[in-house]
Every structure is written in C-alpha cells, then in structure tokens.
Assembly symmetry: C2
Homo-oligomer: 204 residues x 2
DNA sequence: CAAAAATTTTTATTCAATAAAAAAATTTAT
DNA sequence: ATAAATTTTTTTATTGAATAAAAATTTTTG
C-alpha cells in the first residue's frame, strides 16, 4: 500500500528536478537560485534543501536520471561484432560526449564533476558512481565479446582492461568539458593517441 | 626598481596564503572562513577576495606553491636506470600520493579537484594545469630514457605514452582522495592491474 | 609638498546552507 | 468519523561566500 504521503513525496521530487532542469537550461546553473526552483515547483526553498541537500544535489539527481537512458543507448549503438578495440573505445567516448552536450552544456557538467568530488560519500554521489560502474561494464562486456571472437588475446583480463580504458576515456571526457573550445574530434584524436601508445608497449 | 606597492602586494599575498594554510590545517577547509584568513593576515575580508577571488582560489594558490617542490622531488627520487615501466608509474603515483597526504588531507584535496574544474579558464586553474603538464613530462622524460636504454620498443611514442599514463595515474589519484578509507596500497594494486591489462593487448 | 593614482576598507546586497520553532497535513486509533 | 499522534512543510533567523560601489587611506609622481 503506497501511502498518500509517499506518493506526494515522489511527485514533489519529480517536480523539483523537472523545474530545475528547465531553469538550468534557461538561465544557466549559477543564475538559477534554489528559490527560483522552489517557486517554479510550488514549494518553499527549505523544502528543496530538505529533499536534495544542496543545489548541486538537485543537479546530480537530474544527471543520474538522464544517464539511465545513456546506458541503454550505449548498449544498442555500440558494435558487437568485428570489434576493433580502439574504435570501440572511441565510439564509446563519442556517444558519451554527444549525450552530454545534448542534455546539458559544459558549464553545468563542470559543476557535476565538482559536486561528485566534494560530495564524496553522500547518497547522490554514490548513485553517480554506480552509474559510472555500469558504464565501465558496458565496455567490459564488449571486450569479453571481442575476446570470445578472437579479436583480443586470451591472456588479457577483460575486467581490468575495461576499467582502465573507462578511466582513460573519463579523463579525456573531463578534459572535453573543461574547456568550451575543446571539440569532440580533438578528444577522439587524443584518445586514439593514448591507446596507440599504450598498445604498442607489449610487455611479456 | 620594484616599487613599495609591488613589494607590499607580494608580501600580503604570501601572508594570506600562509595564514590560510595554517588555518586549513588547524580547522579544516569548510570551517575556516575568509574572514578568519583575513583577520589572521591583518587585512580585510574583501582584500582576500580582491587577491584570490574565492576561498578555493586561495587554496589553489597554496597547492601550486607546494607542487613546485613535488616536481623537484619526483625528478630526484624516480629511478633513471633499469626502468621497468610499470614500476616507474607506480613509484610516480606513490610519490604523488605521499606528497599529497603529507601536505593536506583528503577532504581538502577534494576541494582542490572541484575548484580546478569549476574555475576552468581562470588564472589559478591555468597555473594548476601547467603543473599537471610538468608532472606528465616528468614521466615522459623517464620513458624517453628507458627507450634510449632499450627497455621500451622504439616504435612507442614517449610523449603520447607518458600523457596517457599520467591521465591513468591521475584518475586513480582522484579515486584515492575521493574516499578516506582508500589506501595507497589499494590504488597501487589497481594501477598495476590497469597497466598489466593495457600492456597485454599488443596491437600490430 | 601637493595633486594624481592606486589600493584597501567600509558598507550593503544577494544567495546557499543550516537550524529551530510554528503551522499544516496525513495517519492512526478509537 | 473524529480526535490524538505523527510526519512534513513552512516560517523565521543566522552564518558565510561572493560581489559591487562608495569612502578612506596610502603610495607615487610632478
């Protein structure tokens, strides 16, 4: 039995995030105040704080919501056969960057990264990390498939490789959003260079 | 001829950063107010803002100062001969993590990372990135040396490899400071796993 | 030494964040 | 169905970061 209170709470949550998303898009992150979000939602400013703790908390909730769709999109758009490892990671990065800029602009993504690190250990940053984990495993799964198909040596640990490549991709993603002038093309080139260099080392 | 004004300015700058460092250590970052720093320095709160823009700006100035010493330390403590690539990067990471926690605690490093991303494009974040660049080149130089010694194949591009490995190391560093419970040992293990997996791929 | 220029301080305002008390709504028990 | 108990929201108030503009002070220059 879902009580009236539980339903009201869920409803308010949704409305707060939805108002926030609209306002962030319209006025940018810095310029929208908690009070703006509260007013647009029809609650008091303190209620927004009660629900999400901080303005960044509202933003993280919004991002986590969007990213569920990202994982689905990655799973369907990434190739499963004839996988070249470098191209796999570049496509992965491409989809992520495309998803990012169609939903929010770079200025806001910078706030997201900042919030995730300062709010380490809170409920919302945990949710964000779980999503990162899931993203990494999209890569891991494709690597396992490529290995099964014989495109990658059997001695390679797909979990470690997937995570390492995810971190690398993520570092380049942060670089992408850190400057408005940085293009996806440039980032993709850098990612290719990273991997070419790494894969040419060939230890034991 | 350095004018009196220039000298006073330089002096105030130093005193502000020095007071801030002491206060951050004593009370933590969140608990020290700009007003505290101003009072300890003997200037007004607005002056601190005039000098560094934000509280995070003061923190970045402090970090940049410390990191000059880090580069020197890395250059002397890292091996130049008989270099194993994996061990080189692990030592590199080890020195950086050690340096980090002896100077400031993890909570404060989280603020540093956050500040660098939100304040992208400002004078101080630029200075931080230049230092990151220099750090990456410490690695590049050692790789070049290892290559000259024949420990790494000639086809490897040392600049791309150095930067890629620096990014990887940096991602793990962020993971290190993101949780108080995360140990250096654990991070070093992960870094080894990352590299083992990457170096076992061996593309054409 | 006085006028000009630069810098700091004072003063004031907005907004995030937090806490505590008051008010309003829902739930539960009768 | 209603009154008491509980939960939730709102009101009210406070602290501190950030910013802006005017006033005061100090240094520089002629």
């Amino acid at each position: 039995m879902s009580t009236l209170r539980a339903r009201q709470k869920e409803d308010r949550r949704k409305r707060i995030v939805s108002s926030a998303k609209a306002l962030f898009k319209e006025k940018g992150y810095e310029k929208t105040t908690i009070e703006n979000i509260a007013e647009a939602t029809g609650v008091s400013g303190v209620t927004v704080h009660n629900y999400y703790g901080t303005k960044a908390g509202v933003l993280l909730a919004l991002v986590v919501e969007n990213d569920e769709a990202l994982i689905a999109r990655l799973n369907e758009s990434l190739p499963t056969e004839d996988i070249d490892l470098v191209e796999l990671v570049v496509s992965f990065a491409h989809v992520i960057m495309d998803h990012a800029i169609t939903h929010l602009d770079k200025e806001i993504w910078r706030q997201v990264i900042a919030a995730v690190t300062t709010e380490a250990g809170t409920r919302l940053s945990e949710a964000y990390f779980r999503l990162d984990q899931q993203l990494a495993y999209v890569l891991v799964n494709r690597i396992e498939a490529a290995q099964a198909a014989g495109a990658i040596p059997a001695k390679v640990d797909p979990v470690h490789l997937g995570k390492a490549l995810f971190h690398l991709q993520n570092a380049r993603f942060v670089q992408f959003i850190s400057s408005d002038a940085m293009s996806r093309e440039e980032i993709e080139t850098r990612l290719r260079n990273d991997m070419s260099a790494l894969f040419s080392v060939c230890l034991g």
